[in-house]
């Protein structure tokens, strides 16, 4: 399949930004949305809207079916064993908070250790930090090697008899390093330690198979997967969702409510308190359809080629220093230019319609380790092309010119 004309499917690319074509290289932050998804939101709100699960009228029945259909689509897409293993959340951040809060409450006590890595996004560190304060749990950081990779070995080094959960990103949102999550999970399970994978950058860019990966928890942000904002997914093995206490409390997640006690609903309702993101869930089915219509293998091939091209081009640009040199790299390239702060780079690129991100990308631990405050990051989506990379490169040259000339 040829993924050349994908931009046509995204209304935003027919618009001008600063009178220039939009070169969107900020997909690791959030992806643009295909027409299919936008239209589904529109048609659902315009013709079919109702809350789900609570009323028995025709609109509610149809909405509930649509909502649950997305759950099944996600289950199939992730090759999860049961549809009850798919919990809808506000985002990956909420998904990780859900696990940290409930797992922490039930299983962690003073002296226990949570093992994360130096690559983690704040969303996969702050929730565990809370347990450090609340329960005197320790946090260990597996260290990156000189290429910015997290090896199985670096994880092994930090595991000890106090390690109670391992929480790792699938792909670094800074260096694009792909972690050996399957091997880490195997190792962890051999020591009876559960594994949470922050799949924010994995889910949009990799073929996923939960039963093969075998991790215990996998967190996804739908807005990075060509889906609406305000929606995320927690995949969790059924036994965990059955064993762990509920997270937020409210309507829809109870069985029986008495003045002196409350019992909770079965899965998946137990973890979906209150009115959920009905329209977002219904529309997300179209995001999955969009990805499936292209084929995740084709997307991977396309993005891979583009990543190699970008690395080629940027490595030839002497002013550019690429951060990290991981063995397997997906989705994101972060870089610096000697003498030009990333914020200045981003502002100058923006003038050309090139949208990148500058800052610490919610990874201060990694930036501190690397001894830099901020980097510039170009990240890829299915709609990007070699022309986009060429424009990126020539706009980088413009930065150099502005800062050199004067």
């Amino acid at each position: 399949m040829n993924l050349v004309n994908i931009k046509n499917q995204f209304p935003i690319f027919s618009k001008k930004i600063n009178n220039k074509d939009l070169i969107y290289l900020d997909s690791s932050n959030s992806s643009q949305k295909p027409k299919l998804v936008i239209d589904r939101l529109n048609s659902f709100y315009s013709n079919e809207f109702s809350n789900v699960g609570r009323s028995v009228h025709a609109l509610a029945v149809a909405a509930t079916n649509n909502y649950e259909n997305t759950r099944v689509s996600v289950q199939k897409y992730l090759n999860a064993k049961y549809k009850e293993e798919i919990v809808f959340t506000k985002g990956a951040t909420e998904a990780i908070n859900l696990v940290a809060s409930t797992y922490g409450q039930k299983y962690l006590k003073e002296g226990d250790e949570v093992l994360i890595t130096e690559l983690e996004h704040h969303s996969n560190y702050v929730p565990w930090h809370y347990l450090r304060n609340l329960k005197k749990v320790k946090i260990q950081f597996a260290e990156i090697d000189e290429n910015g990779d997290i090896s199985l070995e670096s994880i092994k080094k930090k595991i000890n008899s106090n390690t109670k959960i391992i929480c790792i990103t699938h792909i670094s949102n800074v260096t694009g390093a792909v972690l050996p999550v399957k091997e880490i999970t195997e190792l962890a399970h051999s020591k009876k330690i559960p594994v949470l994978v922050d799949g924010c950058q994995g889910a949009p860019h990799l073929k996923l198979d939960m039963q093969d990966l075998d991790c215990d928890f996998y967190a996804i942000s739908c807005h990075k997967m060509y889906g609406p904002t305000g929606l995320g997914i927690l995949y969790a093995k059924k036994k965990w969702l059955e064993e762990l206490p509920p997270y937020q409390g409210g309507g829809g997640m109870i069985k029986e409510v008495k003045k002196h006690n409350i019992t909770f609903a079965e899965l998946p309702n137990k973890y979906e308190a209150g009115t959920m993101q009905t329209a977002e869930v219904v529309a997300f089915d179209q995001s999955i359809k969009f990805i499936q219509s292209l084929g995740i293998e084709n997307i991977m091939k396309h993005e891979n080629e583009l990543m190699n091209y970008a690395l080629d081009v940027l490595k030839k640009n002497n002013s550019v220093k690429i951060i990290g040199n991981p063995k397997k790299k997906g989705a994101a390239i972060s870089f610096t230019i000697e003498g030009i702060h990333p914020h200045d780079i981003a502002t100058i690129l923006d003038e050309d319609g090139v949208a990148i991100r500058a800052g610490h990308h919610c990874c201060q631990i990694l930036h501190e380790k690397l001894g830099i405050h901020a980097t510039a990051r170009a990240s890829l989506g299915v709609y990007n092309t070699k022309d986009d990379i060429d424009q990126l490169n020539s706009s980088i040259n413009k930065c150099q010119k502005i800062f050199d000339l004067k």
Partner: protein
């Protein structure tokens, strides 16, 4: 959709005057079923003899016409059968309500099938399927002696 098919005379009759709405004395199996959507509950009581035959069956609870009629018709039909027959009939009924157009159990006579088929109208009302199946799931749970309560959310 067709309201007349859903609210057939026999359903309305059993709904208003449910048979076996009481508590079996000396029951030896029981289970409770919930429908968290509406708060409805059903409690099934069974007395099985040494040959695993249903000597008595009854139920307590309240609910909509569909769920009361379903429990009423079910308890009428189940009394006097042995465990294997009961399990087979339950399976056939649940299968019919969800997927098949008809009942195929060899343990049911034609007039019994006709009676049960009156409940098939709920197929067109997905949110009401739970009402029709609650007592049946609860019966299975009672027979299995599983202490777990039945919850329609999980089952349909």
């Amino acid at each position: 959709m067709n309201l007349k098919e859903l609210y057939q005379e026999i359903i309305l009759d059993h709904g208003k005057n449910p048979r076996n709405l009481r508590k079996t004395e000396n029951f030896n199996k029981e289970a409770t079923g919930y429908n968290p959507l509406c708060g409805d509950k059903v409690h099934i009581y069974l007395k099985l003899n040494e040959n695993k035959k249903v000597e008595d069956i009854s139920f307590e609870g309240s609910g909509c016409a569909i769920s009361m009629a379903s429990a009423s018709i079910m308890t009428d039909l189940i009394r006097g059968r042995n465990e294997n027959e009961v399990n087979e009939i339950v399976k056939d009924f649940l299968y019919m309500i969800k997927e098949k157009p008809e009942l195929s159990s060899k343990n049911l006579k034609d007039d019994e099938k006709t009676k049960l088929m009156c409940l098939s109208g709920v197929k067109q009302y997905p949110m009401r399927v739970k009402c029709a199946t609650l007592s049946w799931h609860t019966l299975t749970s009672a027979i299995d002696n599983s202490k777990k309560e039945v919850n329609t959310e999980k089952l349909d």
